[in-house]
């Protein structure tokens, strides 16, 4: 099959962005429909490509091929150092293409109803187009520099969408925070890219991987031989790249922007901050996994950061009362799962179970987490509040949302046969085979996950009878219900896809099975979490408050997100501000400005002392003139000769 249609997947969202951005006047009323149709076409092409790639001709001799669809020469630094822009399809990219276009389509569809009547309706859809384009550019990137550019582009579209309601100061602050934190992390990514490319003379993924996996090559020897602060150059490069990924994927300690990013419109949270952009870090590590696999130190860092984030976020999620923030922390926790699954994985088919499991979880998570966010959006649309205490007893009022939310919660809690069960089992068994500590923490986290997700579910849909009867607007339009139903079906069924037969670390498909005996413990823990949540939150009671009071210190710490924000503020405001910014301001004020003021002062002093020569009297000027001539005469005749 000819894969050149892939270019249209990229161009359609770009066209959407450009046309809606420029033709705001003319497309104002049909903006939503217009961009949804474009996205629908893009998603159809992506599904078609995925079908052909995975089922028809992508696999040759039992290995999934890497296909370079198109390449465009963009910059050339030296003979060997070129930057190209292009589309490269491998199993990972094709899978991501499907996820991004499909979730984006669902979000477009949902936004039709959700954003109706917004003043900046047209802008909203054009930003969504920009985001989709840049995310697709990221997943099909042929080289690290293209990936970096798209990486920044998704950052800016995330910034624009978080700050969409820019009348709210909190939204502006959240947008700035997200941009600055991820940008700070991207500095690490850039340095990592430069180190890797400097040592391998290429930005190209394939070349880098080929050079570095060949242990005889001079690049490999030089990059592993030299060391700095006890780690080799390769480890440093990979750790720096991982810092970039951790910033985008909200890993500890760069996660602070994600909960605040919930200021954006809820469908945006579903698309960007749950399903696609935040998993870019996982994608990055997966894309360079062959290189990560060489370096045990870097991979261990990935594993432990992932584990810590998963547990940390799960504990915080139990105490938050804003439903979107709970979902944000749960996203962070699930991405932590993906990260440590990559971290405990090895390179190879069966040994690379963690790799497949991580991407499987990315895949299933995209469906059930975006579903959760869209349900939350529907609830917020009805209740006009993000706080749990304003909800409760909504199950009669919004039956479809209720069922969808329940299925998504079961999926994330890892209850069979829903999607999350399969991917989580694979992750747990990968962890069990390689690192027992991580396995135990992951089990604990999965119990907590089940607890807080069902805390959310019961608080929204059961708990107490719904009080505000004065507005019965129901669940919203058909375009809001349709994506919920589609995603609900996906969240229930995508787990049955034999994922490791499609995506694996070395592109050799393999068969992985779930052992019933192994899954008893995680499922039991999940059910235990659900039971606990039911006990506390099924009916309105004072039990949660009692528990909170008895665990006062821990509860309060978790409620305040373990004071990480405060720590950042302390570091930035107290330390950086006092030690760097203030001296810098002093130098700027006294030395730099001093020089400028000095020049100005000298000039004005001289001019004020000679300004009386400018008397306006013609005869005086004539006198100067003659004096000048006389002086010239004397100079020419006597001095100069």
């Amino acid at each position: 099959m000819n894969y050149s249609t892939a270019i249209w997947i990229m161009l359609l969202p770009l066209a959407n962005f450009v046309l809606l951005g420029l033709g705001k006047k003319y497309l104002k009323n049909i903006a939503g429909i217009f961009s949804t149709i474009l996205l629908f076409v893009a998603a159809a092409i992506a599904l078609n490509i995925a079908y052909h790639y995975f089922f028809v001709d992508g696999k040759q001799n039992g290995v999934y091929q890497t296909i370079n669809v198109c390449q465009m020469h963009w910059l050339s630094f030296t003979e060997t150092m070129n930057v190209e822009i292009g589309i490269q399809l491998d199993a990972l990219s094709v899978m991501m293409l499907v996820v991004v276009t499909f979730i984006s389509l669902m979000v477009h569809l949902f936004s039709l109803g959700y954003m109706k009547g917004e003043e900046r309706y047209c802008n909203y859809f054009s930003y969504l187009g920009l985001f989709t384009f840049s995310m697709l550019g990221l997943v099909v990137a042929t080289n690290l520099l293209q990936l970096y550019m798209c990486w920044e582009l998704v950052g800016i579209s995330s910034y624009l969408l978080i700050g969409f309601y820019f009348q709210k100061p909190s939204a502006v602050a959240a947008a700035k925070k997200a941009f600055i934190v991820t940008r700070f992390a991207d500095l690490g990514l850039l340095i990592g890219i430069l180190i890797l490319s400097f040592n391998t003379n290429s930005f190209h993924f394939q070349t880098i991987i080929q050079t570095l996996t060949n242990t005889q090559s001079p690049s490999f020897i030089s990059i592993t031989a030299s060391s700095f602060l006890g780690m080799s150059t390769l480890t440093w490069a990979l750790v720096l790249i991982f810092i970039g990924g951790a910033g985008k994927s909200a890993m500890l300690p760069l996660h602070i922007w994600l909960p605040d990013a919930m200021e954006g419109p809820t469908p945006v949270s579903a698309l960007i901050h749950a399903a696609t952009m935040v998993v870019a870090g996982v994608f990055l590590v997966a894309k360079l996994f062959a290189v990560f696999a060489i370096d045990v130190t870097a991979l261990n860092i990935v594993a432990y950061v992932g584990t810590a984030s998963a547990l940390f976020a799960a504990i915080i999620a139990c105490t938050q009362t804003d439903i979107k923030r709970v979902l944000a922390y749960s996203t962070m926790s699930q991405i932590g799962y993906m990260m440590f699954a990559l971290g405990v994985s090895k390179y190879g088919s069966e040994e690379g179970l963690g790799y497949s499991a991580a991407l499987f979880h990315l895949f299933t998570h995209a469906f059930f987490k975006s579903l959760l966010f869209l349900c939350a959006g529907a609830v917020i649309h009805l209740v006009h509040s993000n706080e749990m205490k304003d909800m409760g007893g909504l199950k009669k009022l919004m039956p479809i949302t209720h069922i969808a939310f329940l299925i998504a919660c079961l999926a994330i809690a890892g209850v069979p046969p829903f999607a999350g069960f399969f991917s989580k089992e694979e992750i747990l068994s990968a962890a069990y085979q390689n690192n027992k500590t991580i396995y135990i923490i992951a089990l604990l986290t999965s119990a907590i996950t089940a607890f807080y997700m069902f805390r959310l579910y019961f608080s929204i849909f059961w708990n107490k009878p719904y009080q505000h009867h004065h507005h019965h607007r129901g669940e919203g339009t058909i375009t809001m219900k349709l994506p919920l139903i589609i995603l609900m079906l996906c969240a229930a069924t995508v787990g049955f896809i034999p994922f490791s037969e499609f995506v694996s670390s070395d592109n050799h498909p393999f068969h992985s099975e779930i052992h019933i005996g192994f899954s008893v413990l995680p499922v039991a823990l999940g059910l235990f979490g659900i039971a606990m949540a039911a006990l506390f939150y099924f009916k309105q009671s004072d039990k949660p408050d009692k528990i909170a009071n008895s665990l006062q210190v821990i509860y309060k710490a978790a409620y305040r997100k373990f004071y990480v924000d405060e720590l950042y503020l302390f570091i930035t405001k107290k330390i950086i501000f006092n030690c760097i910014a203030k001296p810098a301001a002093w130098i700027d004020k006294n030395i730099i400005d001093g020089c400028m003021n000095g020049v100005a002062f000298v000039t004005s002093f001289i001019s004020s002392s000679i300004k009386n020569m400018q008397s306006g009297k013609v005869q005086q000027y004539a006198l100067y003139f003659f004096a000048g001539i006389a002086a010239l005469l004397v100079t020419v005749l006597y001095v100069w000769k």
């Binding site: 400018q614 008397s615 306006g616 009297k617 013609v618 005869q619 000027y621 004539a622 006198l623």
Partner: protein, 103 residues
């Protein structure tokens, strides 16, 4: 006694400094203009004299002085126009009353 080059140069020098004196001391702009004409004429005398005594077979100096006379005529026209305008705005042709140039 024959009139030599020196005599003529002395006359022109005297004429020049009379003009300069007038330019610096007189406050009436018309008088100042006349003083300038005196200075120009002293230069003309120099040109003609040098031409006659040093290069009698050439005409350059004479042409140059004719050129200067023409320019002086134009200059006088311009100067008088300026003076008239100044008189209209300032009601005076005293040079000390016109010090607007310093602004």
């Amino acid at each position: 006694m024959t009139v030599g080059l020196t005599h003529i140069i002395v006359v022109s020098t005297v004429l020049f400094f009379i003009g300069m004196y007038g330019l610096f001391t007189r406050r009436n702009m018309i008088t100042m203009l006349m003083s300038i004409e005196l200075m120009l004429n002293s230069v003309n005398i120099n040109f003609v004299a040098f031409n006659k005594y040093l290069y009698p077979d050439k005409m350059d100096g004479i042409f140059f002085s004719i050129f200067i006379i023409a320019i002086a005529a134009a200059e006088a026209a311009v100067a008088i126009a300026i003076i008239i305008n100044l008189y209209r705005t300032h009601k005076s042709i005293d040079v000390d009353d016109v010090t607007d140039l310093k602004q």
